[in-house]
């Protein structure tokens, strides 16, 4: 991949970072559809990016791949700014309608999101037109049990959310929390999307990519490693979620870290189910691990995002 992937002019990708998922703007004449809205604290920039991308068109519809805070965090702000409808995967309908902060993993992972109301639902097998292309919704449970990917067969484009990245996939929350068969579902999902003909993947995070087969191989390798070693999966989940929190807050008190790890359900469960460490030992491991990875460093009494 020596240059940007070429997509039709009716499809724009706004590549974001790790805190905000990528946004995909699909235009049809003077109307448009957006897929995923980024994180709550970045909503101002998301609205500006969409406004530039719209270039005078009307944003009719916002569609989510799944219900995590880095994909739905701008929903409310976008609806306020553009008056768009909001379509979500059917499996998350109740969690959104009741604003169930456990089911949405907000309380579970200590993340923030502005409440919104969905106007319609999509499920696996449903089809819709956006960006002059027909998309088929495909159920991709694993990272999120209700997640959908969107696939266009003519252009062989897969909008994969966090079910498949160029290097891996999102945290298998159900497996880490003990609430479902995250590993088994992720394997079935990778097998199912592996049967599709795909020339370009637009992932939830990272640049769009074309080396689909290699990405699948890497994802299967990671999955095998998690199947063989639950502790590795748990450490990975803790590291990823704390990194997310650090990117959001920029700094955390080192003194309060053990308590934060003990009180936040994701860390508590991951540790209890797979690691069995004392909370201070967990904090010590985490700090040195994040420092080694160059994600964070100690500054006086604080852990600061690098």
């Amino acid at each position: 991949m020596s240059a940007a992937l070429h997509f039709p002019a009716s499809l724009q990708v706004f590549e974001r970072g790790w805190l905000s998922a990528n946004n995909i703007l699909l235009t049809d004449g003077d109307e448009a559809t957006l897929i995923d809205s980024g994180y709550f604290s970045h909503a101002g920039q998301t609205v500006e990016l969409v406004r530039v991308g719209l270039d005078g068109r009307k944003l009719r519809r916002l569609i989510n791949t799944h219900s995590h805070s880095d994909h739905i965090g701008g929903n409310a702000a976008l609806q306020r700014s553009f008056g768009c409808s909001i379509t979500i995967p059917a499996g998350m309908a109740d969690a959104v309608a009741n604003w169930d902060e456990d089911a949405l993993l907000l309380r579970t992972a200590a993340q923030k999101c502005e409440r919104f109301a969905a106007t319609s639902l999509l499920q696996g097998g449903d089809r819709f037109v956006a960006g002059e292309l027909e998309w088929q919704a495909i159920a991709v449970p694993g990272h999120d049990m209700d997640a959908l990917a969107y696939y266009n067969v003519e252009r062989r484009i897969l909008i994969s959310g966090d079910a498949l990245w160029r290097d891996g996939f999102g945290i298998l929350f159900a497996e880490v929390l003990g609430s479902g068969d995250g590993l088994g579902e992720a394997r079935r999902t990778l097998e199912a999307i592996g049967r599709l003909a795909v020339d370009a993947v637009i992932p939830g995070h990272g640049a769009p990519f074309s080396d689909f087969d290699e990405a699948l191989e890497r994802a299967f390798a990671r999955l095998r490693a998690f199947e063989d070693d639950g502790a590795r999966m748990a450490r990975n989940a803790i590291r990823a979620c704390v990194t997310f929190a650090l990117l959001d807050a920029r700094r955390m008190s080192l003194d309060e870290l053990p308590q934060y790890l003990a009180e936040t359900p994701l860390y508590r469960e991951a540790n209890a189910r797979f690691l069995g460490l004392g909370v201070d030992a967990l904090a010590d491991w985490l700090i040195s691990d994040l420092e080694r990875a160059g994600v964070a460093h100690r500054e006086g009494t604080e852990l600061v995002a690098s």
């Binding site: 991949m1 020596s2 240059a3 940007a4 070429h6 997509f7 724009q12 990708v13 706004f14 590549e15 974001r16 970072g17 790790w18 805190l19 905000s20 990528n22 980024g38 994180y39 604290s41 970045h42 101002g44 920039q45 998301t46 500006e48 990016l49 530039v52 991308g53 290097d167 995070h205 640049a207 769009p208 990823a240 990194t243 997310f244 990117l247 920029r250 990875a293 160059g294 994600v295 995002a305």
Partner: protein, 68 residues
């Protein structure tokens, strides 16, 4: 591998400069990044380096950023 995005997850536009407070790209540069050529991306990164110098900020590390 094409030129990596300079996003550092501080994604807020400064009302004073019109640049992102994290990566110092303007809104047009962020919007077009994923369809920009490598030459265009290098141009944007040069502009970013100038703007950071103007603001008295250290150069952005040429890393992939945090991988979650």
């Amino acid at each position: 591998m094409s030129v990596a995005s300079p996003c550092i997850n501080i994604c807020h536009m400064s009302p004073d400069t019109g640049w992102c407070e994290g990566c110092q790209r303007n809104i047009d540069e962020i919007t077009r990044w994923s369809r920009a050529s490598d030459a265009d991306r290098h141009q944007i990164l040069l502009a970013v380096a100038d703007r950071r110098e103007l603001l008295g900020l250290a150069p952005l590390a040429q890393s992939e950023g945090a991988r979650v």
